[in-house]
Symmetry: C2
Subunit: 319 residues, 2 copies
């Protein structure tokens, strides 16, 4: 959940010298940043430092980040012609710097903790590609989805193939688990999820996990279609804090679950934070396969001491 | 659902001459704007034109709207002292211009269609008051909620009393139904909703409906705590598009339901729009008490012809 980031002084020190994209492009820096939360927070896994939108560079969409670190896509995709003209993306050739950062990180971690690779899910990537950046209402995304479903499915199919193969390449480079991130899929109705998204997420996950590497299938705001998400695949399904952990689990009792602390709980005093952590661990009691995590990305102003405190609480409860 | 607004040329014509707050403050203009959707769209009810945050003016929070119409609160509330110093609000004295706009509107409508009054729910108002404007992550809101629950409950209690009495005053002025708007309550976990919000929404609804006027209790992103929302009260519970209408209804089978078309569906071609409208009407079949509506506010670039088309579809299906 963006383990490395602005909330860590060690990360900000590197960001003072290099932009977000420069860190991503330089395997030595990406590796250094990837290791920071393991060294300073004590988490049980590292997640490769990268950006969800890196595949937009070889796709020629003109990716940059504004001062507030919000993404800007210079050439959004909204027509059949634009989808047809998208160049082929080969993860080894076009995103090799991420794979190299994974190889470096795995070597540095020396098996102490596993490394998780990740990629954006087709819907979340499509929403950025169509809107040209962040959005609150997803109007252009849904306008294309409803108005030109053929182009929508063509775009989603391309994105599914790209991220599926990119994730598989991350596994070959040494990632020991893979996470498909569908941050914004909760903007959809369950009916629309099944019709417009599920087949493409299923394709991405099938490609990603073909060689047997476990896949975590994560989204936020997904309470009403967790069954459909689980059908699309994933050895573990990740949920946000909007559904009690045990209740979410009922939709996929045979899988593992990841979650689901509200990132805002890290701003709570220790007693309230402890109460919330314990509640989550209690709801996982007696069931196999729980990855304790936040329900979405860690927030920029988070106090690293609180994150360390949560890691210790979970370790104590797990012991 | 913000029936009057930027999507209507008739509204923009008035906005060219007066600011949003000026329209709210002038009963003649507020009445004119309230009637526009009845005249030009053919909806079955009018909703008084007002802003959720008007109670912030007598509370002395310094309400204004930036160019993009986003609210700015000059003096946010974050401490026990600030809550204790909040002045008393009397709806008749301090928000009398809204009540006068209601009286004018009811007179103009001559019983042809009913008028709905509304107010922001305690949580949604608290989030604006604490953050100082719109927010994506509700960090300051939850920081106060978790970190100083006594101040949180004091603020929520004050807001509940104000909006409950304000709604009751709207009913006395002639509003034939009342809507409590909890736009952002879906940022909470079900556990937090019950602990930090439900008692205050219950108080607001009890005050609002004391004289028997029906109350619509609306929120978005509430799929996992609809039961708790219904317990807090409301003759009708309003849901967004993230839960199928019939599935949402199971949480409160004895009540009416309002919803739940995705506002983005109004950007879809007529066949897809028709399919979605029919799906909603079908899910309400054989059950009493369905108010067809959007699942959240109508979006600024919506084509009024599409809105008219939906009204006609619903009328045809209802006939």
């Amino acid at each position: 959940m963006r383990q490395a980031g602005r909330y860590m002084a060690e990360y900000r020190a590197i960001r003072a010298k290099a932009s977000l994209l420069e860190i991503c492009h330089r395997p030595d820096l990406a590796c250094e940043v990837t290791l920071q939360p393991v060294q300073h927070i004590g988490v049980d896994a590292a997640i490769i430092f990268a950006d969800l939108l890196l595949p937009f560079e070889p796709l020629g969409l003109g990716l940059s980040f504004s001062a507030g670190e919000g993404p800007v896509i210079a050439r959004p995709i909204r027509t059949a012609e634009q989808v047809a003209r998208l160049p082929a993306v080969d993860a080894e050739r076009d995103l090799g710097y991420v794979l190299e950062a994974i190889r470096l990180s795995v070597r540095e971690l020396r098996g102490k903790v596993p490394l998780i690779g990740f990629a954006g899910a087709p819907f979340t990537l499509a929403s950025y590609a169509i809107e040209g950046g962040s959005t609150r209402n997803f109007v252009e995304t849904k306008r294309l989805m409803y108005g030109d479903p053929e182009t929508w499915h063509a775009l989603m199919d391309r994105l599914a193939a790209i991220v599926g193969r990119y994730l598989a390449a991350q596994a070959r480079a040494g990632a020991e688990a893979l996470q498909l991130f569908d941050s914004w899929v909760g903007s959809l109705s369950p009916q629309d999820y099944r019709r417009y998204v599920q087949p493409h997420s299923a394709k991405a996950i099938a490609l990603a996990g073909a060689a047997g590497t476990p896949v975590i299938h994560f989204g936020t705001g997904t309470s009403t279609f967790l069954d459909a998400m689980a059908e699309a695949g994933g050895d573990v399904v990740g949920v946000d804090w909007r559904i009690p952990l045990d209740q979410g689990w009922r939709a996929f009792p045979d899988r593992g679950i990841q979650g689901n602390l509200d990132p805002c709980a890290l701003f709570a005093p220790i007693p309230e934070l402890t109460r919330q952590v314990n509640d989550i661990v209690d709801r996982a009691a007696g069931k196999p396969g729980h990855i304790f995590n936040l329900g979405h990305g860690i927030l920029p102003d988070t106090d690293p001491d609180r994150v360390r405190a949560v890691v210790e609480m979970v370790h104590e409860r797990g012991a």
